[in-house]
Amino acid sequence: MDISIDGDGGVSVSLPEDIIFDVLARLPVKTLCRLQCVSKGWRALISDPAFAATHRSRAAAAPVGGGLRVIDTASGDVLRVVEDVRRPDLVRTRLDLVFIAQGDLGACWVIDSETGGVLTFNREKRGEYPRTNYNRTMNTVGVGVHNRHYSFGRECHHSFARATPSGTYKVLHLRCMRLANGDGADICQIATIGNGVAVEPPTWRQRPEPPILTCHCYTCVAGVDGVLHYFMDRRRRTPNDHGRRCPGYPRIASFDLESEEWRKMVIDAPRTGWSDEVSGCHMRLAELKGTLSVLQTILMLNYYLTASGKDNQDLCGAHLQFYNTSTGALTNLMEMGQGFIGSSLTLYTRNFLA
């Protein structure tokens, strides 16, 4: 143990390595990644497998059983098991928080992988629908008479993101209410997830409805810099046939998490670079290097007349296009073969899994 007096007359103490080991083993992974910059010695210590093993063993022990397992891909350790998750629809991860939204039942889990705390909310039992009274400017919607079929699936959506610049984690909940006459209205609610994932359920705050009817599936939302962007829902009536055709220009509504308001400006994405031959496109919203981007496959058609004189169509190929909403540039990335028609798009960036 060294105690040395430095030039200013202050006492600086160097701690022995085994104490530093103990201290570092108590820190969250995110902090440890930063601490690798301190010195070569610390970096060696932090990246040592023996250290990682000690660190893991301090995390909450995972119960054995069914459910979702959050696994550390580096060490293979199970960090957390969440019961009851049948078919997770969407998982976004940062090393300290894991968010799982299960689209069908509208349930969400936020898991703090460091403390093992799990926050569950909006767990609706099948067939039940939470009571809400929603007043739109002229129509008042009473919940009593409500068609259950529309209460889950793509009609209900949660997005989890951080507001900028405060850095607070929030969950945005969008739900489509279907009125008796077939019109749709959106419910928008937001809640803040506090530090350390407390066990109490979040309190939901009502927010104004979006300026356009938004689509709720996971390919139609992207978070960029504290703002959540949603594609316009082009086909509310038949949620299964999503994205095949997009009449008109696809529009994007943006929600600022910090101010908790919808932006007045709705972004217009171009439909395509081609004109006549295009029948439809499959689109996906994504964040790429801090910019909102749209990926789309354009389906190319050949029109031809059949013997009976009717118009007919034959899909002959697809093109992949990339639209950058900040610069307005539309780039053709590549031509894709017939086999790609109907497939879904995924965007992978190098640090997608933080």
């Binding site: 143990m1 103490v13 201290v23």
Partner: protein
């Protein structure tokens, strides 16, 4: 000074001698919170007192404050409150002295407490502040450090 009394009505005590020659007579039940001292008592080498050359009188007094409290009290809330106040120290050098004393004397509870306090201290600090706090020399070249930061960009995002 008299060491552990045999045949006395009083509980057995042991004398601890700090690096600056302060003597502390302490009941065995309290002193044995330290595994180091406990082994010495079991080995029967505590006659004439136990010298602790690595711990000053000032720090040893604080350590004994901890041991006295934890040997006596059984109420969990009370202990928590005590622990919290115990590590609420402005002087960082004292905190480091305490962690090293806890390590040397092998007092598990106190080691946990002080290490956790230091860990909490680290969480809020920048890399440079940490180097200062722990008196660590930065042996990376600027390029090496930039590379590590880049690799772990997400961790620096706050």
């Amino acid at each position: 000074m008299a060491s552990a009394g045999s045949g006395d009505e009083k509980a057995a005590t042991v004398t601890l001698i700090s690096s600056d020659n302060e003597h502390f007579e302490v009941p065995e039940a309290v002193a044995t919170l330290s595994q180091t001292i406990r082994h010495m008592i079991e080995d029967g080498c505590t006659d004439g007192g136990v010298p602790l050359p690595n711990v000053t009188g000032r720090i040893l007094a604080k350590v004994l404050e901890y041991c006295n409290k934890h040997a006596a009290a059984s109420d969990k809330d009370e202990l928590e409150k005590f622990d919290k106040a115990f590590v609420d120290i402005d002087d960082q050098a004292t905190l480091f002295d305490l962690v090293m004393a806890a390590n040397y004397l092998d007092i598990r509870g106190m080691l946990d407490l002080t290490c956790q306090t230091i860990a909490d201290m680290i969480k809020g600090k920048s890399v440079e502040e940490i180097r200062e706090t722990f008196n660590i020399k930065n042996d990376f070249t600027p390029e090496e450090e930039a590379e590590i930061r880049r690799e772990n960009q997400w961790a620096f995002d706050d």
